[in-house]
């Protein structure tokens, strides 16, 4: 950045521009050959291209595509699609992995609101403030988690009673998807002044597509019930509420932070 371009910058911006011009970068590694080798090796391995569990999800997706994915999609909330499938749930994971792999890093409520550019927090007295707040930078999603308590039994896999997840609904219509097992019922419900969906009656699992379109499963969020809806530009979901009334009560109590 030349001296002329520094004009109009505040002192810190000018200092950064000056530093950027003065910095010594490590040599850029020549990657073309090693990338080619890695691709060839993976192609030769065939089924080893993806981890097994993720492969399962993709296998399910492939089957859906064959029979007509569009026909399988019956419901949609901003950024979410709900797809019926016969896929089995994922294997159980230790509670420690829930935070690491499923929900992101532990943060404060203020930090979560800052990251998301706003946040809806339940004001339901029976819940109180969340026990844990997580932010996942990869999906730009925030999860508020409450451990099990009377009336809110803990999920045996995660130890969590209720999880409220939310993300900006404008991140792409197909970023988040949800696979449902057979026997799961999806019911359209009214949440405040908007429409949502209540999923009940079986196990379902949740996954999202990462930046390059890969399906990343987060089965550890598996719980028995889910309410999903959209409000104020957020797509939100509540997992683990014992019934639709309880879920709606939590949802309708949510206030911007």
């Amino acid at each position: 950045m030349t001296e002329g371009r520094l004009q109009g910058l505040d002192p810190m911006e000018a200092a950064l521009a000056d530093l950027a011009a003065a910095v010594e970068w490590p040599p850029t590694p020549a990657l073309a050959e090693s990338v080619s080798d890695a691709i060839r090796a993976r192609l030769e391995r065939g089924s080893g291209w993806r981890p097994a569990r993720r492969g399962l999800v993709l296998g399910v997706l492939a089957a859906l595509l064959i029979v007509g994915l569009a026909a399988a999609i019956g419901y949609a909330v901003g950024g979410l699609r709900i797809v019926h499938s016969g896929a089995p749930p994922g294997s159980p994971l230790a509670p420690e992995l829930v935070a690491e792999r499923g929900l992101g890093e532990r943060v404060t409520l203020d930090r979560a609101a800052e990251e998301l550019g706003g946040l809806l927090v339940p004001a339901e007295p029976a819940l109180g403030p969340p026990d844990h707040v997580y932010y996942d930078a990869g999906t730009d999603a925030v999860a508020l988690a409450w451990t099990g308590r009377p009336g809110l039994p803990a999920d045996p896999k995660s130890g969590l009673g209720v999880v409220v997840t939310q993300f900006r609904a404008d991140i792409g219509p197909e970023t988040f998807e949800k696979l449902l097992n057979e026997g799961v019922v999806v019911e359209q419900v009214i949440v405040g002044d908007t429409t949502g969906y209540w999923i009940e009656g079986g196990q379902h699992f949740f996954y999202f597509r990462d930046a390059e379109g890969n399906v990343v499963d987060s089965t550890i969020r598996l719980v028995g019930t889910t309410l999903m809806w959209e409000r104020d530009g957020f797509t939100a979901r509540i997992e683990g509420a014992p019934n639709v009334e309880a879920a709606k009560k939590i949802a309708e109590s949510m206030k911007p932070r």
Binding site: M1, S36, E100, G117
Partner: protein
């Protein structure tokens, strides 16, 4: 594969440097960039025709770097150095002024190294990769408004760290 190798050569530098701002360590950044380019090859069928490949590739590499960093659980400082012989943009500085400018750069680089991952990446993409907000939004996978707020937050934290450094003196 030859065409893809050419694509890798063309974009390996910005991709590696972006990964460096996430990983901090050059070896980790190299591995993340390689992994990102492999994943990008896999995702090529989903690349939107006519789109700009640089932010698309950088986004994949940055995500690979984030996953690596989280997987390792380690947080490295930023493996960058300030060139000692590089004069300031100010015209004909005295030796004393030049020394002070050099020290100031070292302090600022150290402060950037102390930022948390998202802030460091925002600073790196904006001021070191010289990306505009639109391209940053593509790399980070967030709306443009979020880029503005993240940059503002990162700059604020950088000022705080620099101010703390002065207080410590």
């Amino acid at each position: 594969m030859a065409a893809y190798e050419e694509l890798v050569r063309r974009y390996e530098e910005p991709a590696f440097r972006a990964a460096l701002f996430v990983c901090g360590d050059a070896d980790e950044a190299r591995d993340a960039a390689q992994e990102g380019f492999v994943r990008a090859w896999q995702a090529l069928p989903r690349f939107r025709q006519g789109a700009e490949p640089r932010p698309w590739l950088m986004r994949i590499v940055v995500n690979a770097a984030r996953n690596r960093r989280r997987g390792s659980g380690r947080r490295s400082g930023l493996a960058l150095r300030v060139a000692q012989d590089r004069p300031s943009d100010a015209a004909a500085p005295s030796p004393e002024v030049a020394v002070l400018a050099g020290e100031r750069r070292v302090e600022l680089l150290a402060a950037i190294g102390r930022l948390r991952e998202d802030d460091r990446l925002a600073i790196g993409l904006r001021w070191f990769a010289e990306l505009g907000e639109v391209e940053m939004a593509e790399v980070l996978g967030v709306p443009r408004g979020t880029v503005k707020s993240r940059l503002s937050r990162a700059m604020g934290r950088l000022r705080e760290i620099m101010a703390e450094g002065k207080t410590d003196d």
